[in-house]
């Protein structure tokens, strides 16, 4: 057990070194762009997974918080000149506050009805921001003023700097998830996901636990929204509240393994890499091929490995470990 623990820390240290060195070794901006997308969607997946994975509250409306985060920081920056670093936190708080009434409404429903209600909330928010032309620029959106190298305004000349920002976000997300997983909260979340009545019967205040985790999940998702807007220098309701963000957050977790620490990361690496590579290699010659392969991966995972790739890896590991008891 002791040796296993040491090995684990060794692996984590190695992973950290590799992740920090990566943009210095692979300097092609195409590759770094893919890395950033992978880290960003891993982070969104990790945020989604807290509620959707551990507590099995299948939300397809996390774009609501992504968009709120993006709009809060951009409005503060463009209209009032406030740094997006502050705007990011403000966006997180705005998302937390928004999750209260949204959760209050949606958690009255269970199962598919809950999911549909969450989709609706993101769509409604998109419509709201389409209508607010005065301070949110309506349908045409706005570009974020390019200040060149301005780290205090979350703007960098080097793509690798964005990479480190989103790497930091992901590290925070994973650390928070790890802490929750190991605490009473993690047990309560899984218990609610398994059987809410049974959880209530042993003293779990299910509505409160769900509300709290939804707030945390919304907060983290909003941080991703701010980062994304700063990275692409543009915001409009269609990108900020894109249904794709909601879907991607859920899919990377489902493919990787819901309710596991690393599931969303592994899912994103597989899906984003495949989709980016296919798009660049075949995108122009065979239209839509990357979407086809993407869908095939999804179908394969859902059919054969509903526990996700993490479950698959764990099975393999146990089989291997059992054959070689000396290593167990």
């Amino acid at each position: 057990m002791q040796a296993l623990g040491k090995m684990k820390w060794l692996w984590i240290a190695l992973a950290i070194v590799v992740m920090i060195a990566l943009p210095q070794i692979v300097t092609s901006s195409f590759a770094i762009d893919i890395f950033i997308r992978i880290l960003l969607f891993s982070f969104i997946g990790v945020a989604w997974n807290l509620m959707g994975g551990y507590a099995k509250q299948l939300s397809l409306g996390h774009a609501a918080y992504f968009g709120l985060g993006a709009y809060t920081s951009t409005i503060m920056q463009v209209n009032y000149g406030i740094s997006p670093w502050i705007g990011m936190m403000a966006g997180g708080v705005a998302a937390m506050l928004a999750s209260l009434p949204i959760g209050w409404l949606c958690f009255r429903l269970r199962g598919p009805y809950f999911t549909i209600a969450t989709i609706a909330t993101a769509q409604v928010l998109m419509l709201v921001f389409l209508k607010f032309r005065d301070f949110a620029w309506g349908a045409e959106g706005t570009t974020v003023p390019n200040l060149g190298s301005a780290p205090l305004m979350m703007q960098f000349e080097e793509k690798s700097s964005y990479y480190y920002v989103v790497l930091g976000l992901l590290a925070v997300g994973l650390w928070v998830t790890h802490r929750i997983e190991k605490s009473w909260m993690g047990y309560y979340l899984v218990a609610i996901g398994e059987d809410e009545d049974a959880a209530e019967a042993i003293g779990v205040n299910a509505p409160k636990v769900k509300r709290d985790i939804y707030m945390l999940s919304a907060f983290l998702t909003a941080l991703a929204g701010t980062f994304y807007t700063q990275y692409i220098y543009f915001i409009d309701p269609a990108t900020a509240f894109s249904f794709n963000v909601s879907i991607e957050a859920a899919l990377v977790s489902i493919v990787g393994g819901i309710g596991t620490l690393w599931g969303p990361v592994i899912g994103t690496v597989l899906l984003e890499t495949t989709s980016a590579l296919l798009q660049s290699w075949l995108g122009s010659s065979v239209g839509g091929i990357q979407l086809t392969v993407y869908s095939l991966i999804l179908m394969a995972v859902i059919l054969w490995r509903p526990t996700g790739l993490i479950g698959f890896a764990t099975d393999l590991y146990h089989r291997y470990a059992r054959r070689k008891p000396a290593h167990a």
């Binding site: 009473w184 047990y187 398994e194 209530e200 019967a201 003293g203």
Partner: protein, 249 residues
């Protein structure tokens, strides 16, 4: 002896069905009371009403002098009243230990302390060998044991057991009876819903009989089996067949 649970005038309707009508009974501290009656008599509904899963249309439930009608199930549990379910509801993906720890977190949020409490409860119900087994892989009797351990881990003073013997074979019923007796001996107040008459006779000091949502009799087991009203409503069907097994799962 103090009154642990005082139920007065409990009533609940579902549409046109009067599931529970004006039911009153009292459970003394450290006593084991059985709630019996034919299917649909309102036993499980009474449990739901007492533990906050349904809100009664009328009536009151006092647990150690405190009104619990209107409280949520988790609040009822926090007051010291834990229950099990007729159809066991284990958290299938979790191990036995994690299931029981989830119960223990009610009184202590520290993982190490919850684990200690959970291990005690697991040992009490005789599941120690299955500690690391995923709950979904347990046999029926072990799932019932798990439910009891999980409820015990919340440190209740009153335990409500909903048909813990259903689906068990005769030798398992003997084990379950022994466990319920052990729980009672540990100082718990127990209300048990059961169909297995042999088990009820073995554990209950006092029996409340429901039929069509109404209380038709109550008393010591000896009086109940001789009560003509009870025989007509319920026990009649149990005179000839062996009084065990699971005719009413």
């Amino acid at each position: 002896m103090a009154e642990a649970l005082v139920i007065k005038g409990l009533s609940k309707r579902f549409g046109g069905l009067r599931a529970v009508q004006d039911v009153s009974f009292t459970v003394q501290e450290n006593e084991t009371v059985a709630l019996i009656g034919p299917n649909g008599a309102g036993k499980t509904t009474s449990f739901h009403l007492i533990t906050g899963f349904h809100r009664p249309d009328a009536g009151s439930v006092l647990a150690f002098g405190q009104e619990v009608v209107g409280l949520k199930p988790h609040d009822v549990c926090a007051l010291g009243m834990a229950r099990t379910f007729q159809v066991a509801k284990p958290f299938g993906a979790m191990t036995v230990l994690a299931n029981v720890m989830t119960g223990a977190f009610l009184r202590d949020r520290h993982v190490a302390a919850a684990e200690r409490k959970a291990l005690e409860a697991i040992e009490f119900v005789g599941l120690s060998a299955r500690e690391q087994t995923p709950a979904k892989d347990l046999t029926t009797i072990d799932q019932r044991r798990l439910e009891m351990a999980r409820a015990l881990a919340t440190q209740p003073r009153i335990l409500l057991l909903d048909e813990v013997m259903a689906g068990l074979n005769p030798s398992e019923i003997d084990q379950a009876v022994a466990l319920v007796k052990k729980l009672a001996a540990s100082g718990l107040t127990i209300v048990i819903v059961e169909h297995v008459m042999r088990a009820i006779m073995a554990v209950a000091r006092h029996i409340v009989v429901l039929d069509h949502g109404q209380k038709i009799a109550e008393g010591a087991p000896k009086e109940i089996v001789e009560n003509p009203e009870v025989i007509r409503a319920y026990l009649g069907s149990y005179v000839h067949p062996p009084a065990q097994g699971d005719a009413h799962a």
